[in-house]
Symmetry: C2
């Protein structure tokens, strides 16, 4: 069962927004057994929308569209779908009721919002419980096209509660079987060399894919069809033998989620003292639901004054070694452990860039200290030139360093 995802909106094509909908939908579709053949982003342009539908209906069974359903003139998806499916817009009272409901707690109905209750005649209308744009489902021969709003949380709500269950019922697709291993201690090419023979001997239909990230490689072994499970399990055993201790975890999980699970299992608490990562580690940790069980707090000490006043870093260390130094990283982590009264702490101090580098401490120099009860580890990392990448990489590496200590 093949699917395609189409996101509609000029704001995507001019790069004003990043399309996060496609990845989310692709992930859910894959887990439900659909094979996502391609994703397209196109403009708010009737000709292009119709051409794309025509083209995709030749290759896939299901087209999921988001976007172009807003109340303003630049949004033309609904009208264009009417043209494509040769139908007209009719007013739907149940949609109006839903709209009134949704907006009741923050505004009142105006003409444009009311107009959102017009839907193409003959399609199946699905109420959007979290927004004003209705969802429309078109059966077309044995194929399906669904048009959903582009607002991410609206699309997600509708997909999970309405669209995925209906698609599964209609198509009952073949299962996508996979095993994901998060592997440490290898570069991508080093790991591939280590697995050359294994990869060469994989049975027909099996795939092995590598996804590198800072300090880690995610390895995905996959095949389609429930009946191939025993084979998958056999290959999985081979792979685990080959990788041994290099496997950090046997599932597809972010570092922050994994760290959270470890802390929760061990009943430990954590806090951070962040300079160059500017709160990003705290943000990542607290992005996980339930993190309040183990995360107690954070001190983002960008200025030296905060390092001294809140974390009790010694002035002498700052003066003699500078803020980006082993001793300051250590004192920050120890300070955080004490001040936040936590079992584990992470500190970062470095030069994220683009400015602030020197000959001795170029942009990308980062000291990371992690503490686990009475133990501590402090290490220097030489990262790159890009602020954004440095913040991301340092955050990831810091959480990995702590997990390494926790064993």
């Amino acid at each position: 069962m093949k699917a395609a995802i189409v996101t509609i909106g000029d704001e995507i094509l001019i790069g004003q927004i990043v399309d996060t909908n496609s990845a989310w939908m692709a992930h859910k579709l894959t887990l439900s057994g659909f094979e996502v053949e391609e994703m397209q982003s196109i403009g708010d342009n009737a000709r292009q929308i119709k051409d794309t539908i025509n083209d995709l209906f030749e290759r896939v069974d299901v087209i999921l569209m988001t976007g172009g359903l807003g109340p303003t003139k630049d949004d033309i998806t609904k009208k264009t779908l009417c043209e494509y499916f040769d139908t007209t817009l009719i007013f739907d009272d149940s949609v109006l009721d839903n709209i009134s409901n949704v907006i009741s707690h923050f505004t009142t109905l105006n003409e444009l919002t009311r107009n959102q209750a017009y839907v193409p005649e003959g399609c199946t209308v699905i109420q959007n419980r979290v927004g004003t744009a209705p969802v429309t489902w078109f059966d077309h021969k044995d194929k399906v096209l669904v048009s959903m709003p582009g607002v991410p949380y609206e699309m997600r709500y509708v997909m999970e509660n309405e669209i995925l269950p209906r698609l599964q019922e209609k198509y009952d697709p073949e299962a996508y079987l996979k095993r994901v291993f998060v592997v440490k201690g290898y570069t991508e090419s080093g790991l591939a060399l280590h697995l050359t023979e294994f990869e060469d001997n994989l049975p027909e239909g099996f795939g092995l894919a590598y996804l590198p990230s800072p300090g880690l490689v995610k390895l995905r072994l996959f095949v389609r069809g429930e009946h191939r499970l025993p084979e998958l399990e056999a290959q999985e055993r081979k792979l685990k033998n080959l990788l041994g201790d290099a496997i950090l975890v046997e599932k597809d999980v972010t570092v922050e989620k994994l760290l959270g699970e470890r802390l929760f299992e061990k009943g430990l608490t954590i806090g951070t003292a962040e300079s160059c990562t500017g709160g990003n580690i705290a943000h990542l940790i607290t992005s996980i639901p339930g993190s309040s069980h183990y995360f107690k707090g954070s001190v983002v000490s960008y200025a030296n004054e905060e390092k001294i006043n809140i974390l009790h870093v010694s002035e002498s260390a700052l003066v003699q070694h500078g803020a980006v130094s082993e001793i300051v990283a250590l004192e920050m982590a120890k300070g955080a452990q004490r001040v936040l009264n936590v079992d584990c702490s992470i500190s970062t101090t470095g030069i994220a860039g683009p400015d602030g580098g020197t000959e001795e401490k170029p942009v990308g120099t980062v000291w990371i200290c992690t503490t686990y009860k009475d133990l501590h580890t402090v290490r220097k990392y030489q990262l790159g030139k890009y602020r954004e990448a440095n913040i991301t990489r340092a955050s990831n590496l810091a959480m990995l360093q702590l997990m390494e200590m926790m064993g």
Copy 2:
């Protein structure tokens, strides 16, 4: 001059990663005068890659591809481009030199990395100074295809330093003229109603697009062609008259960037005290280069203990009103202002979800306090059910609330 962006990788189609490359490239291409006609994400699949190129060369002048250039077997872009352009791979010593250079500070050359020095014969090879996969440029009749690595910071470096300058020199495309206004105080439909007449009377070729985000609408007025600048300026004046004080700023800028600029201009410092936003506001503020000029630090006080010990929130306020309350928000912001010794502070305390809601304080309840010297504002916001959306929205709204106070 039309362009298309193609990102290649099975990891995109199964939703393992979000494609951020396309938006970044689209933004740069648009600013350079190219019209991005569409974006596609396809698999590591030779037939699909070739079909996509064929199809796109019928519609656009420039195809920019990223991905599928890694050292592992699942990456087949280079081989497929050889098939498409009917050429073969040859070993390039200058590429090997560059690879050796790039990896020298963290690892040594292995066979797979060395193989990355093979490039299609007859194409223009462009060195990738920040990674091991070479960039290849194919001239095809009067059209161009460029293949770049999918690692975001590598692609960005190569685009800015090599590809965009060459594309501009070759095509000298017509300018894309735009004016962006960040508008406050309107919903998207409310703003569209207010601008109905203006929009109806726009000259041929002009467009007006709406992009809503929490608390704001970004309005984009645009047209193509340098010679239409006087007309654009005339429409811009009309629009500014219609919007008056509702215009927060006359450029396309994130709230964190705008806040940073305001603070820097006024010589003010800032710190945050974050509970439900978990460090995200600090992360956003410090994502801006140069933020160390105004950002001093942050206390992420997830637990009550941290609110009391570091921010000096009174125990009585916590006991009598609970952590999610007006008084605690106020005491957190005041505490942060004192402890961090800053001119302005932001505090957030709320229930991000999915758990922790009650009848009286449902998920999505957030109190935000902002201080500006001796002044403070404290407000309650009722957000939605989604943790991720609530964190993002609360962060945005908090920065807007502070800017409102600063005038």
